[in-house]
C-alpha cells in the first residue's frame, strides 16, 4: 500500500516538472505581451521599460529558472492584465467553475446511470430506443452549438432563462454562490445542461454496456437460479460491479469539466476559470496562462491518484497487492 502511494507520488512529481517546463516554453511562443501593455504612441524607451520590468529582457534560461523558483515557493506571479496575484485570480474564479461542474456532474450521473440501466435491461422499450438515438446526437454535437441552440430556444425565443452570466450571487463567507437566489439558479440551468450533455451520454453508454456484460456473467445467472429477488440482483449484484469503470470515467471527466469548461464558460459568459483563460489568451497574459496549465496538470495528477485509491476500496482484490 505504502509502496503504491510512493510510486504514484514520484510519478506525479515527474509529470508536474514536465508540465512546468512545457508551460514555460509554450508561452514564450504565444506572443509578446508588451505590445498590448503600452499605449498607442509608445516610444521604444517605454516599450523597453515594460520589457525590463517584466523580466522579459533576460536570457530564456534565466527566465525559466526564475519561473521554477517562483512556482516552488507557491508564487505564480502577477497577472499582466489584471495586476493581481494569479493565485488570487484563479481562486476567485474557482467557485463559479466548481458550482457549474458539480451541477453538471450530478445531472449527468443522476440521469446517466438510470438511463443506462434501463437501456441494458429493456433494450427494446420505446424509452430506451429514444434515449439511445438522442444520446447519439448529444455525443456528436460540439459544445458551442449545443450552448447556442439552448440560448436561441430558451433565452431568445421563449425568454424563460437568461442567456449569460451567473445572476445574483449570495456571499456565504468562503465564496459567492449562485445556489441561493432564484436568478442564480435560473442562470445555472442552460450552462450546466450544455456541460453535462457529453458526460451524460458517455456515462449512460458505459453503464449500459457494462450492465449487459455483467448480466451475462455466471454469478448473475446463478443468482437468478437461486431465485433471489430481481431488484437485489440488478441493484446490489450487477450494478455495483458495473460501476467500477464509471467511477474512473467520472473522476477523469470531472477533471475534464473543470479544466475544459472553457467553451461553455465563454459561450455563457460564465465568470469562471475557463473564461479567465480565454481572456488571457488574447492578451496574452502569460502568468495566467502558465498558472492555468499548471493547475490543470496538478488537477489531473490528483484525480488520477484519488481514483487509484478509490479502486482499492471498491475492489478488495487491489488492496492485497
Amino acid at each position: 500500500m505504502i509502496r503504491l502511494f510512493s510510486v504514484r507520488l514520484l510519478q506525479a512529481i515527474l509529470v508536474m516538472v514536465a508540465v512546468t517546463a512545457i508551460a514555460f516554453v509554450m508561452f514564450r511562443f504565444v506572443g509578446d505581451p508588451v505590445a498590448s501593455m503600452v499605449r498607442e504612441g509608445a516610444t521604444q524607451a517605454e516599450k523597453d521599460a515594460v520589457r525590463v520590468a517584466l523580466g522579459l529582457d533576460k536570457p530564456v534560461a534565466m527566465q525559466f529558472a526564475n519561473f521554477v523558483g517562483q512556482v516552488l515557493t507557491g508564487d505564480l506571479g502577477t497577472s499582466y492584465r489584471y495586476q493581481q496575484p494569479v493565485t488570487t485570480l484563479l481562486l476567485s474564479r474557482l467557485p463559479a467553475t466548481l458550482e457549474l461542474v458539480i451541477v453538471a456532474t450530478v445531472l449527468a450521473l443522476s440521469l446517466g446511470i438510470p438511463l443506462g440501466v434501463l437501456c441494458a435491461l429493456k433494450p427494446n422499450a420505446f424509452l430506451s430506443r429514444l434515449t439511445q438515438s438522442a444520446t447519439l446526437v448529444g455525443i456528436s454535437m460540439p459544445t458551442f452549438v449545443t450552448g447556442l441552440l439552448l440560448i436561441l430556444i430558451f433565452a431568445v425565443n421563449l425568454r424563460w432563462l437568461p442567456s449569460s452570466g451567473r445572476g445574483d450571487l449570495v456571499d456565504i463567507g468562503l465564496w459567492e454562490t449562485g445556489f441561493l437566489s432564484l436568478s442564480g439558479l435560473k442562470s445555472l440551468i442552460l450552462p450546466s445542461i450544455t456541460l453535462a450533455l457529453f458526460q451524460l451520454t458517455l456515462i449512460m453508454r458505459l453503464v449500459r454496456s457494462e450492465m449487459i456484460d455483467v448480466l451475462s456473467s455466471d454469478y448473475i445467472r446463478f443468482a437468478f437460479a437461486r431465485g433471489l429477488p430481481r431488484p437485489y440482483i440488478y441493484g446490489r449484484l450487477a450494478l455495483r460491479n458495473a460501476l467500477m469503470p464509471v467511477v474512473t470515467v467520472t473522476g477523469l471527466q470531472i477533471g475534464q469539466l473543470i479544466a475544459f469548461a472553457i467553451v461553455t464558460e465563454t459561450v455563457f459568459q460564465w465568470p469562471g476559470m475557463g473564461l479567465l483563460f480565454t481572456n488571457a489568451v488574447g492578451y496574452p497574459d502569460v502568468p495566467v496562462l502558465a498558472a492555468y496549465l499548471l493547475f490543470v496538470g496538478f488537477l489531473f495528477v490528483m484525480i488520477n491518484m484519488i481514483v487509484d485509491i478509490l479502486y482499492t476500496f471498491i475492489d478488495p482484490r487491489l488492496r492485497t497487492r
Partner: protein
C-alpha cells in the same frame, strides 16, 4: 423567424410593466470585454478608460462634439511656457462625500506621474504639480507642450483622503505586484457612482444625484455586462436582457437592423487603417536585392493599383470611409485637401513601375492580423490580388494579433497593415511623433522600419513645442502633405463602429468609440 419576432414582441409587452417601474430608468449594455481594473493608473486600455469616465471627471473633458471644455477645472492660463495654472471648480463633492479641492488634484497628478503608474506616459511632459491655494494648482512641464489639455482629458481625478484611507496613494502595478483598493472600488465626482463590480460579470452604476453638472441623460441606473461571445451578446440583445450592445458583430448587423424594436447605429470611427512600408535596404522577400519600396514611384504605383471603391463596397459593406491621410476628420491636423486617395489607375501604376525600373513588378511580403481590425485578413488578400495586376507578387502572411504586433515592432515585415486612432489626444501630433518621425528613442516609437525623412523630423520637433495653435496646426498639415506626396504610408480607410440598441434608447455615437451614457436618453 416569424414566430421568434412574435414571441419577442409578446415578451416585450409582458416585461415592459415589470422591468420599468415609473421611477427607475436602467440602461443595460454589453460589450465584448470587461474593464481591466477600476484603477485609472493601472492600465492603458481605452475601453476601460471610457467606462471610468462614468465615475470620474477629468479637469477638462470632451463635449458632445468632442471639443474640449472645462470640467473640474473652470479656467486655465499659461503662466510661463512650462507652468500652467488651473482654477478649480468649487462646491464639488466626491461620491463618498469628500469635498473636492486642490489637494485631490495634487495627489492624483502625483499618482499619475509615479514611476509605477502603467499609464504614466499619458501625461509624460508633466514633471511636477504645486498647490497655489485651495482651488488653484500649477502643473510644471518639462518643456513647452501644446497638448496638455488633450492629455488632461484622460486623467481622472481621485480623492486624496479616500486614497490615503485605503492605502492607495501609489498606483497598482503588475511589474511590482502592487494591488490596491482602487483596483476594485472607485470614488469619483462623475455622473454615476460605481455600486457593484463583479469581474467578467457586471458593473452596476447608479446616478449621482449630487453631480455638479446638469445631467443630459434621464437614467437612474446603468448596468454594464461584458459578454465575450459574439453570438451570446447578440442573443442577450434579442432576448431583451440588455438594451444595447457595442460592438455588434458585423455579420449580425443586417439581421438586427431588420428586427422590430431594435436599431443599428453605424459610423466611421477615428481608427484609420493603412499599409506600412519597409524602408530597409533590402526586403525580407528578396534578400540581396535593393528594396524597391524606397522609390517613391513604386509606392505611388502601389497606391494607384488599389481599388478603394471595391474594398469599401464589398469588404466593408459600404460602411467605411475611404481615406487619403493618416488621421480622421475629427482629429486636429486633418485637411480635406490632403485627404484624397490616389485614383485607381492600373495603366498609370504600371507606367510608374516601369519608370522606376520594375516593368515586370517585384516580390514582396504582405502581412496582416486576422483578429484585430474589421475584415483585416480579407483586405490583405484583396490587395494582394490587386497588386498582382501590376505584376507585384505579394506573399500574404496572416497571423493573430498576439504574435503579429511583436513582429511589426521588430520590423520583420515588408509591407503590413496597421490601424491608428490618434487616441487619447485626438491630435495629428500622435501619428507624426510615433509613426512618421525617425525612430531616435524619443520619437518614432512605432516606426520600426527605417522611415527617415529630415523634413518630417524638423516639422515633428517644431510641432512638439509650438504653443501657437494656428502655427502648430499648419505644421501638422505640412507634415501630412509631405506624407501624402511621398506616399510614406498608404492609407485605406476609417473603419466603422457599429452599435445596436433597443429603439427606445437614444445614445449618441462617437468616432472615438467611447460609450457615453451621460448623454443617453431612454424613452418612457
Amino acid at each position: 423567424m416569424k414566430t421568434s419576432i412574435k414571441t419577442l414582441l409578446a415578451g416585450i409587452a409582458l416585461l415592459a410593466p415589470l422591468s420599468a417601474p415609473a421611477f427607475a430608468e436602467t440602461l443595460r449594455w454589453a460589450s465584448s470585454g470587461d474593464v481591466i481594473s477600476y484603477d485609472p493608473n493601472a492600465q492603458v486600455d481605452s475601453f476601460t478608460q471610457s467606462v471610468h469616465h462614468m465615475v470620474f471627471d477629468p479637469l477638462v473633458r470632451r463635449n458632445k462634439e468632442l471639443k474640449l471644455e472645462p470640467a473640474l477645472a473652470t479656467s486655465w492660463e499659461v503662466v510661463e511656457p512650462t507652468r500652467w495654472r488651473f482654477k478649480l471648480r468649487q462646491g464639488v463633492k466626491f461620491h463618498e462625500g469628500q469635498a473636492f479641492n486642490a489637494d485631490d488634484v495634487v495627489a492624483t497628478i502625483q499618482r499619475q506621474i509615479d514611476p509605477g503608474a502603467r499609464n504614466r506616459e499619458n501625461l509624460s511632459t508633466v514633471v511636477g504639480v504645486e498647490k497655489v491655494d485651495e482651488y488653484t494648482v500649477d502643473l510644471i512641464l518639462r518643456a513647452p507642450y501644446p497638448l496638455l489639455l488633450n492629455d488632461l482629458a484622460a486623467i481622472y481625478i481621485m480623492s486624496k483622503p479616500w486614497m490615503a484611507e485605503h492605502d492607495a496613494l501609489k498606483p497598482g502595478n503588475a511589474s511590482t505586484g502592487v494591488v490596491t483598493y482602487a483596483s476594485n472600488h472607485a470614488n469619483g465626482t462623475g455622473a454615476f457612482k460605481l455600486k457593484a463590480y463583479e469581474p467578467d460579470s457586471r458593473s452596476v452604476f447608479e446616478v449621482n444625484k449630487d453631480w455638479w453638472d446638469k445631467p443630459q441623460h434621464n437614467l437612474d441606473e446603468v448596468e454594464f455586462r461584458p459578454i465575450a461571445s459574439d453570438a451570446t451578446r447578440v442573443a442577450a440583445l434579442l432576448s431583451g436582457e440588455v438594451d444595447m450592445i457595442a460592438p455588434v458583430p458585423l455579420q449580425d448587423v443586417d439581421r438586427i437592423a431588420a428586427t422590430d424594436g431594435l436599431k443599428v447605429v453605424e459610423n466611421p470611427s477615428l481608427r484609420t487603417i493603412f499599409f506600412v512600408f519597409s524602408y530597409r535596404p533590402e526586403l525580407h522577400a528578396t534578400p540581396g536585392q535593393p528594396n524597391p519600396l524606397r522609390d517613391v514611384r513604386v509606392r505611388q504605383a502601389l497606391w494607384h493599383a488599389i481599388d478603394g471603391k471595391t474594398i469599401q463596397k464589398r469588404l466593408m459593406r459600404g460602411k467605411s470611409r475611404t481615406a487619403g491621410m493618416l488621421v480622421a476628420p475629427a482629429v486636429t491636423g486633418y485637411d480635406e485637401d490632403i485627404d484624397v486617395p490616389l485614383p485607381y489607375d492600373v495603366a498609370k501604376a504600371k507606367a510608374l513601375l516601369a519608370e522606376a525600373g520594375y516593368p515586370d513588378g517585384f516580390k514582396t511580403g504582405l502581412a496582416c492580423p486576422n483578429d484585430r481590425y474589421i475584415a483585416d485578413e480579407q483586405i490583405c488578400l484583396a490587395v494582394a490580388s490587386m497588386w498582382a495586376q501590376i505584376g507585384v507578387q505579394a506573399n500574404v502572411n496572416v497571423e493573430s494579433k498576439t504574435t503579429y504586433f511583436p513582429r511589426t515592432d521588430k520590423g520583420e515585415f515588408d509591407v503590413y497593415l496597421l490601424g491608428w486612432a490618434s487616441l487619447p489626444p485626438m491630435d495629428g501630433f500622435s501619428p507624426l511623433q510615433a509613426l512618421l518621425a525617425t525612430n531616435d528613442g524619443t520619437f518614432g516609437g512605432s516606426n520600426a522600419d527605417g522611415l527617415s525623412n529630415p523634413d518630417i523630423d524638423k516639422l515633428a520637433y517644431a510641432a512638439a513645442g509650438e504653443l501657437d495653435e494656428t502655427k502648430r496646426v499648419e505644421t501638422l498639415k505640412e507634415a501630412f502633405r509631405i506624407t501624402h506626396d511621398q506616399v510614406l504610408y498608404l492609407p485605406l480607410h476609417q473603419q466603422p463602429v457599429a452599435w445596436a440598441m433597443s429603439s427606445k434608447v437614444d445614445m449618441p455615437q462617437f468616432p472615438d468609440e467611447y460609450v457615453r451614457p451621460w448623454f443617453a436618453q431612454i424613452k418612457k
